[in-house]
């Protein structure tokens, strides 16, 4: 196994880089998509609610691999998307659906009294949402988001099927040439394991950091200067 790792060192690390790039890009894009559709679903405008519902039904109702293939092979008869972007967009659109539900749930879980208190102080709906509801909702969304991001990282392996040499793409070609699939797959599995471990670590740090009860030190630090954006 060590030998496989050593002889494919370069290929594997290049592939790892691609996996990381694809994951982070689709994670950012997916979060934006998710946030936008979360706003659509909590909006008072019926049309936006319907659009969000339609998006959820389509995306959650079809397999990721089908979506990637439609985007890359299907759409290429009309416009050609570069592999990277086809992969990223498919991953982002797919995960965006789940992320939007995470955001919607966390926004709606904030006590109604928070909005009422903000409005009673003269804040308009948007300001109250931005300053009072969202900061609390984001904090509450962190554990579920972390989970979704781990899923996204692992799902990114599917981009191998549109010809990208991400970790899984590289693995398949290595295993195909050295005829030692079991050991090769285990090496790759370890790569993913380490990546996921890293993600988990980062999110548990984030969770702690945004929990005011657990960070008394932060409150003391804040007394010196509250940054106020205008």
């Amino acid at each position: 196994m060590l030998e496989i790792f050593q002889s494919n060192y370069n290929a594997l690390f290049e592939a790892l880089l691609i996996t990381i790039k694809v994951t982070i890009s689709s994670l950012l894009l997916g979060s934006i998509i998710g946030l936008v559709f979360a706003f659509f679903s909590i909006s008072h405008i019926k049309l936006l609610n319907y659009i969000a519902q339609g998006y959820l039904i389509l995306v959650r109702g079809t397999p990721m691999i089908v979506q990637i293939c439609i985007l890359y092979f299907g759409i290429s008869s009309i416009v050609t998307l570069p592999q990277f972007w086809a992969g990223v967009i498919a991953l982002a659109v797919h995960n965006g659906a789940y992320i939007s539900e995470i955001f919607r749930g966390s926004i709606q879980s904030i006590d109604k009294g928070q909005m009422e208190a903000a409005r009673s102080l003269g804040m308009n709906y948007k300001l109250a949402l931005r300053r009072i509801i969202l900061p609390q909702a984001f904090k509450r969304a962190i554990p579920a988001l972390g989970n979704q991001f781990i899923l996204l990282l692992k799902e990114s392996a599917l981009v191998a099927y549109i010809g990208m040499t991400d970790l899984w793409g590289a693995t398949m070609s290595i295993a195909g040439s050295n005829f030692r699939p079991l050991e090769t797959y285990i090496v790759t599995g370890l790569f993913y394991l380490v990546l996921v471990g890293l993600f988990t670590f980062i999110f548990s740090k984030l969770e702690k950091r945004y929990d005011p009860e657990k960070s008394v030190k932060r409150s003391i630090k804040n007394s010196k200067g509250i940054t106020v954006e205008r």
Binding site: E116, L121, G122, N124, R131, E213
Partner: protein, 240 residues
């Protein structure tokens, strides 16, 4: 200062307010009492338009308010509210809670807002809690912060929606003390409460609500010692 005329409000099929008239003059303290479900809180929430009335009129400072046309945010800037469950912003410190609206709504400079916030904290006796998060405060302290937060907008009217109902008995006094001081300073107040001692001592007028209507309103002395309406008598005999 506040004038409600024939206010009607329903939720679904349930009519909660059945044509309520209420006038509150400047610097007057009006206490609303009545059984739960009688419409006290709803009436209060109609004054700052957290509930939009179905029929009737609301005038504040002589200005008739049409919820569809008037900028309700401007009205709410002048009408502070204190809630039963405090509704402090848990992600902000006490000081941040208080300066939030002055800075973001009134566009006050943050230093100025902090200075005023500290004066208000002094007033409610919590100067040393400025940098604490609400979670670390007792119920009575939270409610005093909530009062300071509402006062930070320099409202002309303060509404209190059962401000002591969620508190442990031994913490009620400190909140009532702050409210009493506020009344002495000449604030116009409408208070929904079950604290009859407070009503008797601080109110200029006590109004009894029953089934969506105000049945009787009187100076507290007359109200408690010599109630006219049978329902009022019944209610008072049950709670006193």
């Amino acid at each position: 200062m506040i004038e409600l005329k024939k206010v009607v409000k329903s939720f679904g099929g349930l009519t909660v307010l059945k044509g309520v008239d209420l006038t509150v003059s400047e610097k007057e303290v009006v206490v609303l009492i009545g059984a739960s479900g009688s419409g006290k809180s709803t009436l209060l929430r109609c004054i700052n338009f957290l509930e939009i009335l179905d029929q009737g009129e609301v005038q504040i400072n002589g200005e008739q308010i049409n919820p569809a046309k008037t900028d309700l945010n401007k009205i709410r800037e002048e009408v502070g509210m204190v809630f039963q469950h405090f509704n402090l912003f848990p992600h902000n410190t006490v000081l941040e809670n208080i300066i939030e609206a002055p800075v973001y709504v009134k566009k006050m400079k943050s230093d100025e807002a902090k200075e005023y916030a500290n004066i208000l904290l002094e007033k409610v006796g919590l100067r040393d809690k400025a940098d604490n998060y609400p979670d670390s405060l007792s119920g009575g302290q939270k409610q005093r912060v909530a009062i300071a937060r509402a006062l930070a907008m320099e409202p002309k009217i303060m509404l209190f929606d059962e401000p002591t109902s969620a508190l442990d008995p031994e913490l009620v006094g400190e909140v009532l003390q702050v409210m009493k001081q506020l009344a002495n300073d000449g604030m116009t107040m409408v208070v929904v409460t079950h604290e009859m001692g407070f009503a008797r001592e601080v109110a200029d007028r006590v109004a009894f609500m029953h089934d969506g209507q105000i049945l009787e309103q009187e100076h507290p002395k007359n109200f408690f010692d010599n109630p006219q309406n049978d329902r009022t008598k019944q209610f008072l005999s049950r709670i006193l």
